[in-house]
Symmetry: C2
């Protein structure tokens, strides 16, 4: 285990920096300062330097960072130099949208399978993916070597689906259901209930009104 | 303005606590301890007490919190005692899934309109919503009194759409595009690029492998 004390907010910003550097790299720009990165993504340059400092020394004083090097290093830190097969359980509206979301593939996440228990959905196609019977999940996890599972089912069955994912060997879960899931310590999880993000906005809007 | 120094992580947890309390309330349970809330949502009881302490004194020592009262109070803090009309620009897969996402309505967010610039999409129905021409955005924002806009368009046009939303009078933006948006100080924004959440998982999985 390494680097587990890194704040999650730093990891999120590294992901944002790496996307910005990818844009800059495509423009053919070779060096960049922390100030330029900061302006590009909307944080302070002290923040950029602090985030990068967790991972050692980067850049040359007065010259800045080499764009390609820093980009490559960030992608390595983020674990994005290898491809991650991902499985999705729940082929409803959200799960189907996620299965066809091009942004995942760009960053190295490949949907290895999407599953449902509804006979009317099983066998249907989403782009090139065929919706599979959820009973095939363990087999697909094994053959695809997937580590990450996306829970895109209603709250009532989310725990059951998560348990099944973990029994199948998945090590990380992205939970889109509004249910908090109980998982073993060795499994990592992110809750991304979409409403929460709207509620952060309503909190701030409410605060502005007062 | 009030309470703007509250950490965002606290607001996210308040949202989670309020959902958990809603479940507990439906079961008819009248009082609950910080320890029970903590176990229910997977944080420490000290964290629960600390989060609630930002907003004053709650509960009775040795008795705990009144479930209904605390739930009501959290919903008020989160700005969820009123309904928030929301508009979505981009009727692609993600935007369409969001428009039909039942979880929003449960928490007081009502989709007042979904917009696109593609003539093949305009006029089509998503459940009871008709996809509208994006030129009608200002009119719908005005009549619906919407404050929140969801950006669900490709990166290349995200800034343009965000500018249009702000000109139309929206005060808060939920950005699903992988582009960082430049917005005026008085507008609040959340970036919820879905890949970022997968990258946090790949970071932790990568760290475990090392």
């Amino acid at each position: 285990m390494k680097a587990l004390k890194i704040p999650e907010a730093t990891i999120i910003r590294l992901s944002v920096y790496s996307r910005y550097l990818a844009q800059i790299k495509r423009k053919g720009i070779v060096t960049i300062s922390s100030g330029e990165i900061a302006r590009g993504v909307g944080v302070s340059s002290a923040q950029v330097r602090k985030d990068l400092a967790y991972f050692g020394e980067f850049g040359t004083r007065g010259v800045g960072y080499n764009v390609g090097e820093l980009y490559g290093y960030l992608m390595k830190i983020l674990g994005l130099t290898t491809q991650w097969p991902v499985v999705i359980v729940g082929a409803g509206k959200l799960g189907s949208a996620l299965a066809m979301y091009a942004g995942f593939l760009e960053r190295g996440f490949k949907v290895a399978g999407i599953f449902d228990n509804d006979p009317r959905k099983i066998g249907q196609k989403l782009d090139n993916l065929e919706i599979m019977d959820v009973h095939k999940l363990p087999e697909v996890v094994e053959t695809s070597k997937a580590s990450i599972g996306i829970v895109a089912v209603p709250a009532e069955v989310a725990q059951e689906v998560s348990d099944m994912m973990i029994r199948s060997g998945l090590k990380a879960i992205l939970n889109f259901s509004p249910r908090m899931l109980v998982i073993p310590d060795e499994v990592v999880m992110r809750n991304v209930d979409l409403s929460v993000n709207l509620e952060i906005l309503s909190f701030y809007l409410g605060a502005q009104k007062s």
